[in-house]
Subunit: 409 residues, 2 copies
């Protein structure tokens, strides 16, 4: 065996296991290998399953076709995205609450979160909702913001975990916790499906302003909000442009999970303590460590934001919201504590004291349904399972049948 003399990055050694979703896929495939005839139904990873609608698809097609012509061909574009798309995002999705040059188009929210961590660097303290999307914590660890994981609490040193659970209506009590520099906050929430109210987000913005902290608001599930008055963007909150970055993505809007297109808004008046605009350093990251979203894919993004495209998105979201209702109703009828699934594609089910990995395994083995163990989203998710409404309707209905067979008294 040959080994180099290059020391492994110690931060990577702190990450205990692989990234959550590949681990779920591994367990599913392991089960399938041992039970090749199993008819698995997946309510696991939040992955869209419905075809891309016509008008949006035409945008992608146009993106391709023009590359075959001398007049239409384009090479490197602006690393921040094509101007038309930045403008359309600002006007159609934000009603001009943000400017086009505050919008940075990218290959997705997950990648942008990692790049935001690269920008913040090793010497900030991050706060996350517990449970939360694992990328916030994992990338904070990679960048060296944390110490080791505590084997008992399953928490990393130097991260502020903000408990979000039924007892606080999934909204954290910031004031009782140590101050952090950067607050990652997701609404509609992944994994709990909880949405924050205008009052709650106002208190978040006010708190961060007082403490001199930055909010990274993850709005990837915003189009699922149908209840009037629930904010779809942090910029609906007064003063948010002084404290908040917003990451977002076309993945769940338009079935672009595999197509890869997202954006991040960095307001021009958000500044570091020394007065440097955050946008300057973000621009440096995007131009140096990234090279723009695909020109083909941006063609699809442009059509998403036409009136026709927006209508198609609404229809897709209606479909998934109906799935969410079906799953939610099922677990309510079975007597479980159920959260989310109203303005959100995720159902968060209290497994009545069972450990979440145990519940995951039992359900996989007994009824061949894949879910996600809540503990995969942080220690605060222990005892819960997340179910995704992104499966096809038939799959959701089949899952409901099986859950009823398993749990009905």
């Amino acid at each position: 065996m040959t080994m180099s003399g290059v020391q492994r990055n110690a931060n990577f050694a702190k990450l205990q296991a692989g990234y959550l979703f590949p681990e779920i896929a591994r367990r599913r495939n392991q089960y399938l290998a041992a039970n090749p005839d199993a008819k698995i139904v997946s309510l696991g990873i939040g992955d869209t399953t419905q075809p891309i609608p016509e008008h949006i698809l035409a945008g992608l097609q146009k993106g391709v076709t023009k590359l075959g012509t001398k007049e239409g061909y384009t090479g490197y574009g602006a690393e921040q995205g094509v101007k038309d798309l930045r403008e359309k995002i600002a006007s159609k999705l934000y009603k001009n609450l943000v400017e086009a040059d505050e919008v940075f188009v990218s290959d997705g929210a997950k990648c942008d979160i990692a790049r935001l961590q690269l920008m913040f660097g090793a010497n900030v303290v991050s706060a996350v909702q517990d449970p939360s999307y694992p990328v916030y914590v994992d990338t904070a660890v990679m960048l060296g913001q944390t110490g080791q994981i505590n084997a008992d609490t399953k928490q990393f040193q130097n991260i502020v975990y903000m408990p979000c659970n039924p007892s606080n209506n999934f909204f954290p009590d910031f004031k009782s916790l140590p101050r952090a520099d950067v607050y990652y906050f997701c609404s509609p929430n992944n994994p709990t499906g909880a949405t924050a109210t205008k009052e709650q987000l106002t208190s978040l913005v006010k708190f961060c302003k007082e403490k001199g902290s930055i909010v990274v608001f993850d709005a990837a599930y915003a189009p699922f909000i149908r209840t009037p008055g629930v904010p779809k963007s942090i910029y609906e909150i007064e003063g948010a442009k002084d404290v908040a970055i917003e990451v977002n993505s076309f993945s769940k809007y338009a079935g672009f999970t595999g197509v890869r297109l997202g954006w991040t808004v960095v307001p021009s008046n958000l500044k570091f303590a020394d007065g440097t605009p955050v946008r300057n350093d973000w621009n440096r990251v995007m131009t140096t460590a990234f090279n723009g979203a695909s020109n083909v894919v941006q063609g699809g993004g442009l059509n998403c934001l036409d009136d026709e495209g927006l209508k198609e998105i609404d229809t897709l979201i209606d479909y998934y919201l109906q799935n969410a209702k079906i799953l939610r109703d099922c677990f309510i009828s079975l007597g479980f504590g159920v959260h989310g699934g109203i303005d959100a594609p995720y159902i968060w089910v209290d497994m009545k004291g069972k450990g979440s990995w145990d519940a995951f395994s039992e359900i996989l083995e007994k009824i061949q349904v894949v879910t996600i163990p809540g503990a995969g989203f942080g220690p605060g998710g222990e005892g819960f399972l997340r179910m995704s409404a992104f499966a096809p309707r038939e799959a959701c209905e089949e899952a409901v049948k099986r859950f009823k067979a398993l749990y009905a008294k």
Copy 2:
């Protein structure tokens, strides 16, 4: 003015100016604003200009079309790329010198270089050819590997600069320099257009093996190599799989600069000092900080590697190589010292003692041709200009006319 209390990442403050290529665009646009009638010819950024050929375009089209059907729709794919594409890269481009599961498909070499730096972290010493593609140094600075820049030498503390110039035939004398952990090496070289011989790369691999170092070999310009015997991949060198990572991209192969598709090879037997396979940590980066290349775009990559696609690539490269010859012959006829442009798309011209930013400005102002100042690639590039052969033929011919008018005695 409101300022947050979040400290700016000190590593970003070390980066003196913006990223090179946007800075060139800024100067070009500034000139154009002052001289709106100027007919600018660009030999600047290495950006492809020819349309994507038919068979490759059909792959992209297929990538789109199937997303509109229930059977063909795909969401998240493997973060490492679709299996067929990984296999095709291994067999068609590497003649199975590498395995499919050592190939990680991505949105491009630039992004992969930044992610490699994220994997290596703050505590390695990087070595770069001087001059070199600015991303190696800039991302090393961002990750905290370096000290401040020295105002006199224009070099960052704690980076090993390996001079590459006509006096050493553009191949560095490793042995006279301090040891580094990671050696970034690019052949055919950006910006000098130099190619390393088999003997030279053998000495690089041997040296890194002895010193326990890792090579990051940037082979993005490999298809330009037409001279028999010049290695197109580091893995043509015996023992390279013990020491070398290779980054590569479809950008220059197939005009995919804006389409975004690349790959990185991490051999399974490459290990950190503690025995951890480098591939494990690379996989963690790719699954956590990235989410796979676009499924649409991977469809195009698959067609690139069909026999028809490979033939189309050859035709494209022929075209750009002919441009390179035209530019090279021009500067030779004008009595300049000229390098590169034979198995490479870049011409590296010795500006006879003139500073490279001065030469850049003079040429822009006098004959409205955009070039890239050599000093933008590191202090060792001072006194040179890089010219790109990726312009359309007419532009290259027009530039030659103007250069002759400016410089002919």
